[in-house]
Amino acid sequence: MNKIVPVLTVLAVIVVVWYGAAIKMNSQWTYDQAARAGTEVTFGTLVTDTLAQERPKLPAPHQVVAELWDTTVAKKITSKRSLVFHGWITLSATLLGFGIGTLGGVALAVGIVHNKAMDLGVMPWAIASQTIPILAIAPMIIVVLNSMGISGLIPKAIIAAYLSFFPVVVGMVKGLRAPDQMQLDLMKTYNASGAETFWKLRLPSSMPYLFASLKVGVAAALVGTIVAELPSGATRGLGARLLSGSYYGQTIQIWSALFAAAALAAALVIVVGVFERVVLKKMGMAQ
């Protein structure tokens, strides 16, 4: 509770600074127009004009909110100009990719924990892969799959899966190794088989680690999908909205797509967080 006032204060400051910056950055255009028309610019007209331009350098917050309202609530969701439509395109690819990446990551982690050669061979590469800009291969995957006749949802999902894969592997390996020697010994005294140790000890104790990396993974998957929508000349999805906005100088469109992407990312992380709380509570690990 003691966080709400400071957070709101900081947000208010951001909005004020934003308005100030919008007036400052858009004033050039206003002065140019006035000079062409041969009129003087008073402070009043400067403010009203800079906050209501059609293609401002920096759109004012209320313009972005108006555009968001216009493209989410006012438009039919089947319309090509509806952000809900584009958001759904992005979300579906993100979720599919995230699902594939998570399943693959968990499977590889199980293999790594149970096989010494895989552990020694794969793990250093999985860790090293976190330090390289994997996102750079996105355009290539899109184009290559396109030339093989696969387009639309699948290539984007593959990139999203690829990005969410490695955080899940690394986190899950850590989680499956979380039980200490004492607990493993206890399982041994119960004469538990490898499978029983896995299902009853390793898997439950890996859950906190899994959810921590799922949060990272789902955010990464969304970034992957958005970037994947850039190079293909795609016309659908939030990434395509960003790109077409930047081609045609539609700054308000870029900002509203950006806010939609931010809202989507926040919603995804929150949903994973809710799952985490419910699952951990059911398993008696709630903090």
């Binding site: 003691n2 966080k3 400071p6 957070v7 709101l8 204060t9 900081v10 947000l11 950055m25 350098k57 010494k116 050669a117 552990d119 020694l120 061979g121 794969v122 793990m123 250093p124 590469w125 090293a128 976190q130 330090t131 390289i132 800009p133 996102l135 750079a136 291969i137 355009p139 290539m140 184009v143 290559v144 030339s147 093989m148 949060k215 955010a219 969304l222 970034v223 958005i226 970037v227 850039l230 190079p231 939030l238 990434g239 960003l242 790109l243 906005g245 930047s246 100088g249 700054t251 870029i254 900002w255 797509a257 950006l258 992407a261 931010a262 990312a265 926040a266 992380v269």
Partner: protein, 278 residues
């Protein structure tokens, strides 16, 4: 002939796998395993491409990529300077410097910390690369806009980690400084900043990857006719995939080297921390 090739590829794979299992069993030869795994991957890749005649516009062979890499060093170097030195590195230094400074500044105000930290944590999870088109519009096509994207991308992870690090001293240590009659500045420089270093470096290491991603992806939105992101997006369009892979190889090696360098500096700075000892 095709089934024979499949068998051949499988045989090589299983053979190397068996070899790796043998190496994994003895402590003295364990370092061989990851190397052999990498070699196996490249070998299988080369075999599959050659034996099955995979078209180079789908997947070029490692040998072809290497040949392209060696023959186009000047272009790769030019792109490297444009993207890494001018875009990523300058943005990284500015962004991380600004983040650490901001953390120190807001450190005295619990109010600002409580306000900024949740927002910083929230922003760190957002798809920040999306601001690239806006910053390209503001700062032009050249490296300045890429550096700006990198600044925004690295700022929040480093800020959040540094603020956490500045709180890492316990009251006993701060009380000791007080009994020495140390001023705020002395306490900051001699106790709290050194104690924060493991956290700061955690943020700095996360930021290395983000810096490269930001610099490369920002070039997809417009750049002068050089730069790694520019090269990747245009050569993909011309189906010169060997060149794309060469750029990716450079990016991968650079990313690992950058991360390794920061880890080395970390080792030197935080030699006292338990994670660095032994």
């Amino acid at each position: 002939m095709k089934p024979l090739y499949v068998l051949l590829v499988l045989a090589v794979w299983l053979g190397l796998w068996w070899l790796n299992t043998r190496f994994a069993m003895r402590k003295s030869t364990q370092w061989v395993v990851p190397v052999l795994f990498g070699i196996t991957l490249i070998l299988l890749w080369e075999m599959v491409v050659r034996l099955f005649g995979v078209s180079p516009v789908i997947l070029p062979a490692p040998s072809a990529i290497w040949a392209r890499l060696v023959t186009s060093v000047p272009i790769l170097w030019q792109d490297f300077v444009q993207t890494i030195f001018k875009g990523a590195l300058s943005g990284y230094v500015i962004g991380c410097g600004a983040a650490v400074l901001t953390a120190v500044l807001i450190d005295r105000s619990p109010f600002l910390q409580r306000g900024l930290l949740p927002i910083g944590n929230f922003i760190a999870a957002l798809p920040i690369v999306g601001i690239a088109p806006i910053l390209v519009m503001w700062f032009g096509f050249d490296w300045q806009s890429k550096a700006a994207v990198v600044v925004v991308m690295v700022f929040f992870p480093v800020l959040v980690n540094t603020v956490a690090g500045l709180q890492a001293t316990d009251s006993m240590q701060r009380d000791l400084m007080r009994t020495y009659s140390a001023s705020y500045g002395q306490t900051l420089l001699k106790l709290r900043l050194p104690a924060a270093m493991p956290f700061v470096f955690n943020g700095l290491k996360i930021a290395t990857t983000l810096a490269l991603i930001g610099a490369i992806v920002a070039e997809f939105f417009g750049s002068p006719i050089k730069g790694m992101g520019f090269r990747i997006s245009t050569e993909v369009g011309r189906l010169n995939l060997d060149m794309v892979w060469a750029e990716i190889a450079v990016a991968a090696v650079t990313g690992s080297a950058f991360y390794g360098l920061v880890s080395l500096i970390e080792k030197g700075v935080t030699f006292w921390h338990p994670s660095q000892r032994g």
